[in-house]
């Protein structure tokens, strides 16, 4: 195993160069986008010859360049090229002879971009990059049949005398013919085949791809192991951070309270609306933070089932539809609201028992009345009460953001279509809703409500000295709950 050596010259040699090649429109640029997690890399479309240049990106491990990836134009006319390569020799090319022949072709007018005769200039670009690389990833659209053109491409690539890792793309499609491709590739002596789907990515596929490369490249084992390890760590860290982001939002929302005259329904509604608005804005900020963390742009998201469009949830947080969508029982929420109303009644001597119960039930879907102590007790004696966001809404917030997070973690950066929830996500949603850890969750929410100072929803946040540390503790605990919910969702 070769460790990176200290001298600059030697460490350069451990950088692994990878050329991504394949037929046109098989998703080479998409693969690069996913590997670099950079959705702005190159240009992607369902059309031929979208990429006509060679573009590179370096993957860093602990701040040092480790792997250089090169995106190449598609090999469109491999048949013609193979004809050309063979016509020069007047027959099949002997194995050892291939590399010379490729070199001769690259020096010829056919490969010359400047000349009009250079009808293979695009193929030449790709092949030049293959020769300059340590390994080539040969991207295949697994929905295609094994055709002559693919055999020709493989034959040409074999002439280049570089290790090839075939990458089957679009494996998630029902049309994908994975076994057929594997059979064919093993017949071509290519056994380390990676499966990949640049639209639907799960954490293991990328790792497997890197492992396949590692198995072929002895002298780059350390580099690739380092890359695999770093990717795992980053991924784990990213999920932890995302859960903390969600937890932070939940604390801001749960701790937030407004004091209103208790029984005046009209004014209560008035008082609730700015509160709702602040909560909506906070949720939106959380969505933006998550998107930014996962490096997705806002216009990347628009959806039908998971209704994020323009980076926003389409269904209002406080609408019953939102509760229904994620299976949060609006009925229980209404009851909670009613109970909160009764508590207030007891405090003011049951003067308006009926009114408060009715009102509590009416607003139950959205808000409950939370009781805390201190100044608030005084408020209550004065006939004021405290409005806080109720458990169901908090739960909905939590589930909604977790659903978004799990969609984000499984999404390739190459996917052109917006995020939406497929059937798999639907079962995940059920996993969230069937998640019965709500006791710990509820007691945490109750605790948070005791600390209005934790909320940063107000215009001027001002962390008080000691609540800051307990807020962080609660944030971490809540983040753990979110994470366990996420794992349960993934485990379904």
């Amino acid at each position: 195993m070769s460790e990176p050596v200290t001298s600059a010259g030697a460490s350069v040699s451990t950088v692994l160069r990878v050329a991504v090649v394949g037929h046109t429109n098989t998703g080479k640029t998409s693969l690069l986008r996913t590997l670099t997690r950079d959705e702005s890399f190159g240009e992607v479309s369902d059309r031929p010859a979208t990429t006509r240049h060679v573009e590179g990106a370096t993957l860093m491990v602990r701040g040092r360049p480790a792997v250089e990836l090169y995106d190449t134009p598609g090999l469109e006319d491999s048949t013609g090229l193979l004809d050309l390569l063979e016509s020069a020799a007047g027959g099949r090319v002997a194995r050892g002879d291939g590399l010379d022949r490729i070199r001769r072709f690259l020096a010829s007018a056919d490969a010359d971009a400047a000349s009009d005769a250079g009808r293979f200039q695009q193929e030449a670009k790709a092949l030049r990059q293959v020769l300059a690389s340590d390994v080539s990833l040969y991207v295949i659209d697994a929905r295609d049949r094994v055709l002559g053109k693919h055999r020709d491409e493989l034959e040409i690539l074999a002439m280049c005398a570089r290790p090839i890792v075939p990458v089957l793309n679009f494996t998630a499609s029902p049309e994908a013919q994975i076994q057929l491709w594997r059979d064919h590739l093993s017949r071509a002596n290519l056994h380390a085949v990676a499966e990949f789907d640049t639209v639907v990515v799960d954490d293991q596929t990328e790792r497997r791809l890197l492992e396949k490369m590692r198995s072929l490249l002895d002298q780059h084992q350390a580099t690739l192991s380092g890359l695999i390890q770093e990717r795992e760590q980053l991924r784990a860290g990213l999920i932890t951070t995302s859960c903390r982001v969600i937890a932070d939002m939940l604390i801001d929302v749960a701790a937030h309270q407004v004091s209103v005259p208790a029984m005046d329904r009209g004014r209560m509604d008035q008082a609730m609306e700015p509160l709702r608005q602040r909560v909506r804005e906070r949720e939106q900020r959380c969505v933006e933070q998550l998107l930014q963390l996962h490096r997705f742009s806002k216009d990347d998201l628009a959806a039908s089932d998971l209704p994020i469009s323009d980076g926003r949830w389409g269904i209002d947080l406080f609408s019953p539809a939102a509760m229904k969508q994620f299976g949060v029982r609006a009925g229980s929420a209404a009851a909670a609201g009613a109970v909160a109303g009764l508590t207030i009644d007891a405090m003011v001597g049951g003067l308006t028992l009926g009114a408060a119960t009715a009102l509590g039930a009416a607003i139950g879907g959205a808000l409950g009345l939370a009781h805390t102590h201190g100044r608030r007790l005084v408020d209550r004696v004065r006939g004021h009460s405290e409005l806080a966001v109720d458990d169901s809404t908090l739960r909905l917030l939590m589930i909604r953001q977790s659903a978004l997070l799990s969609a984000l973690t499984r999404r390739g950066h190459a996917s052109v279509a917006p995020i939406r929830m497929g059937s798999a996500d639907q079962t995940r949603t059920h996993a969230y809703t069937s998640h019965r850890n709500s006791k710990a969750e509820k007691s945490l929410f109750d605790e948070i409500r005791q600390h209005p100072g934790w909320s940063r929803l107000q215009a001027a946040p001002n962390p008080s000295a000691w609540s800051e540390s307990s807020r962080l503790n609660v944030q971490e605990e809540l983040a753990r709950i979110v994470q366990s919910m996420l794992q349960r969702g993934a485990g379904e």
Binding site: R47, A49, L82, F120, G148, L293, A465
Partner: protein, 755 residues
């Protein structure tokens, strides 16, 4: 402490504290931090992400302000701790003074003194040990219960009182995040607590020794409920540790003699008193000072180690957000080898020239030849060669590989007679590339008449798109762009647009068969109506209508609509007038007199609406479209029977009523009452739907009514037409919609014919 001075040293705890503080600062002032320079410099810092974060905080413009604030906050904490130590010293002395300050004639109760000096602190020590076992919550609990925690909080409170402002708020919060949490907090609080108790004990001891040196005390013990037998071992047990440490302790006799009965003072025994006071001093040293001293040393050591080990939690959002900036995982190299000005265009024409020369010298007359290029196996198993009525093929087979290409080209070149036409079938699921392009060019050059390119697999492509993004408007455009790519590719291979045909061989319909047959026969897409299916003509008429109207206002008046319907009806004019019976329309002009026309209108509107599948009946839009088609069909019939200008027919007042009667059955018919939800809003969308419905009806005339309903059910898929977003607004959208409709209509019809 100065961030600039130890720039090149490894970061210390203070730097991390600064980073924590800066993180709070940035949360409070999200837009204030001008950090670009700091980010750039920190990115080049040699070290991991955490070190770069620390470095970044040191480089921030606000860093010195925050460092000052931190210094002040920590100063305030130190001040409070200092004051607390003084208070502890005073308290210690006072406790000793109070414990020994009994009236002269009474002996000092030794256990009271021990309890007063050692009691509270021993209880708190036990509590401390208990708390320290709960590692996770220890610092949180200590910050509340321990003297150290109280001191730190008081210091923070003091700092906040003295210095308002965000920088101090950040500094206080930063201190909270580090000192009030984790092992740093745990051991810092412990250190302060133990230091305070140590001070207490030392001053207590000093005062005790001072009093014992300067005054004469006699010591005793007394009890009411306990027996002497239990006291003596207790005393011995307490004395055992000081004795082991070398302190003089009372002997067993002295202990027994030390009991006081409350009335007469025991005689002063100098040696016994010495032994008792030595026990007192020894106990304070052994049980008070020694453990606190040890624990203080331990705590200081652990606190220092904890501070040294302290690392920023890079998973926290406020730090993690800098990862991409400070330690990018990807570095873009940009374009290494730029794209050419123009792509190669001459698709291997040079290679094909010879065959072209050869081909042109032959004369055409063979069977039409057909080639399948990279087609899915299901197609050439079932539908190959394409079954076109009255056509016998010269099947050149499938082309999948280089060998196939060579074989086909040589077969074409060697054939004695040139084929009457050459049909190349490609799949739309294939991305057109230069490889297929050069093959097309070679084929085009091999025959003298231009080949016909048939693009199959449209449904397959649609299915594939639908899987990727159901309900996305992008689908249509993707299919269109794929078609456009094929057209472009064909054009560069020398095949003109009119010789490229999208035709799904896997779903071959009568209409598409005849289209292909027509092309084979005439060589070009024929404009003559005899070969053209009427439905296609009707569609193009509707598109033309939409095209005229899209520049106009959106509202289409009924007369124009009726004219459209009449034109469509005229297309089917030569067919036996079965559609009239279908709609229960009379065949003589008299029955269509203005007087009876109104009732006729609603009758036929109802007829057509009844024929709609249930699914569509639920859509107000389709229901209205059906009613309109029916009513206007009646008008069209009238126009056909007695060729008058439609505009002259005095029926318009009845039309809206007839439609409204169908669409809103429960309502009294008042068409002008609510113009907003009047079903006949004359929007382009509705006009197109009703005209298309009418055309389909005419195409289907002669079929059983149930079949008509079934075909309509399969054909019309967009039942969500009530969604305004789905509405057609211009000719292009109309064309796309009609195109898909026509395709499904062909399919549905073919299925009915087969079954």
């Amino acid at each position: 402490m100065d961030p600039a001075s130890d720039h090149h040293k490894l970061p210390r705890f203070d730097d991390r504290l600064l980073a924590e503080t800066a993180a709070v600062w940035e949360q409070l002032e999200p837009f204030a931090a001008d950090d670009r320079q700091a980010n750039l410099e920190a990115r080049d810092f040699e070290g991991d992400f955490e070190l770069r974060l620390v470095e970044r905080a040191r480089l921030l413009p606000i860093a010195s302000t925050l460092a000052d604030a931190l210094r002040h906050v920590r100063g305030a904490i130190s001040l409070v701790v200092f004051l607390a130590i003084i208070a502890a010293l005073l308290a210690g002395a006072a406790t000793a003074r109070a414990a020994l300050g009994t009236p002269r004639d009474e002996p000092v109760n030794i256990f009271h003194v021990l309890a007063a000096t050692l009691g509270p602190q021993t209880i708190l020590l036990a509590l401390w040990i208990g708390v320290m076992f709960k590692r996770h919550s220890a610092s949180g609990m200590l910050s509340i219960v321990s003297l150290g925690g109280l001191a730190v909080r008081a210091g923070q409170w003091l700092a906040r009182r003295v210095h308002p402002g965000r920088a101090y708020a950040s500094a206080v919060a930063g201190c909270s995040r580090t000192f009030l949490r984790g092992s740093v907090g745990r051991w810092t609080f412990s250190s302060i607590s133990h230091a305070l108790w140590l001070s207490f004990n030392i001053s207590c001891l000093s005062m005790l020794v001072f009093l014992l040196s300067t005054r004469q005390y006699s010591f005793a013990w007394e009890t009411t409920i306990l027996s002497a037998e239990s006291y003596e071992p207790l005393t011995r047990a307490i004395a055992s540790v000081p004795r082991a440490a070398g302190f003089l302790t009372p002997s067993d006799d002295q202990i027994a003699a030390g009991r006081w009965n409350g009335t007469t003072p025991p005689p002063f025994d100098a040696s016994a008193s010495q032994a008792w006071s030595a026990l007192l001093v020894g106990s304070l040293v052994v049980y008070g000072i020694a453990p606190r001293l040890l624990l203080l040393g331990l705590s200081l050591g652990r606190a220092r180690a904890a501070r040294r080990r302290y690392r920023l939690d890079t998973a926290r959002p406020e730090f993690a957000r800098w990862r991409d900036v400070l330690e990018p995982t990807v570095h873009s190299m940009g374009v290494v080898d730029p794209s050419p000005q123009s792509l190669p265009t001459g698709l291997g024409v040079a290679a094909a020239h010879q065959t072209a020369a050869k081909a042109s010298s032959r004369k055409a007359g063979g069977l039409p030849a057909v080639i399948g290029y990279e087609l899915p196996p299901s197609l050439h198993a079932n539908a190959w060669p394409p079954a076109i009525h009255g056509t016998r093929w010269h099947d050149l087979g499938m082309v999948d590989s280089r060998d196939d290409r060579r074989r086909v080209l040589s077969e074409l070149a060697q054939a004695t007679q040139e084929p009457a036409s050459l049909v190349i079938v490609c799949s739309l699921t294939t991305t057109p590339d230069r490889g297929v392009g050069s093959f097309l060019a070679e084929l085009a050059a091999a025959v003298s008449i231009p080949p016909l390119l048939v693009l199959t697999g449209g449904q397959r492509l649609r299915d594939r798109q639908a899987q990727n993004a159901s309900g996305m408007p992008a689908i249509a455009s993707t299919i269109e762009s794929r078609l456009a790519d094929w057209h472009a590719m064909a054009a560069s291979a020398g095949i003109v647009r009119s010789r490229v045909l999208e035709l799904d061989l896997e779903h071959l319909t009568r209409a598409s068969q005849s289209r292909l047959a027509a092309l084979l026969a005439t060589g070009h897409l024929s404009a003559s109506a005899s070969h053209e299916p009427r439905f296609d003509l009707a569609c193009s008429r509707i598109i033309a209508f939409a095209d005229e109207r899209s520049n106009d206002s959106r509202q289409v008046d009924a007369a124009a609509q009726a004219t459209l319907h009449a034109e469509i009806a005229r297309l089917y004019g030569d067919a036996p007038p079965r559609w009239r019976t279908l709609l229960h329309l009379p065949s003589d002009a008299a029955a269509l007199a203005p007087a009876s026309l109104a009732s006729r209108l609603s009758a036929s509107a109802e007829r057509l609406s009844a024929m709609l599948p249930d699914r569509l009946k639920r859509s107000p839009r389709w229901l209205a479209a059906g009613a309109t088609a029916g009513a206007l069909g009646c008008v069209a019939a009238a126009a056909l029977i007695s060729p008058v200008a439609i505009g002259a027919l005095p029926i318009w007042s009845g039309l809206g009523a007839a439609i409204a009667a169908v669409t809103q059955p429960g309502r009294s018919v008042k068409p002008d009452a609510s113009p907003n939800d009047s079903p006949d809003d004359g929007s382009l969308d509705r006009v197109v739907r009703s005209a298309a419905l009418f055309a389909m009806l005419l195409e289907l005339q002669g079929f059983d009514e149930r079949i008509i309903t079934r075909v309509l059910d399969v054909t019309v898929t967009d039942a969500d037409a009530d969604d305004p977003a789905q509405h057609m607004r211009d000719a292009a959208e109309v064309e796309r919609w009609l195109d898909e409709l026509r395709h499904r209509f062909d399919l549905a019809l073919a299925q009915e014919v087969r079954s």
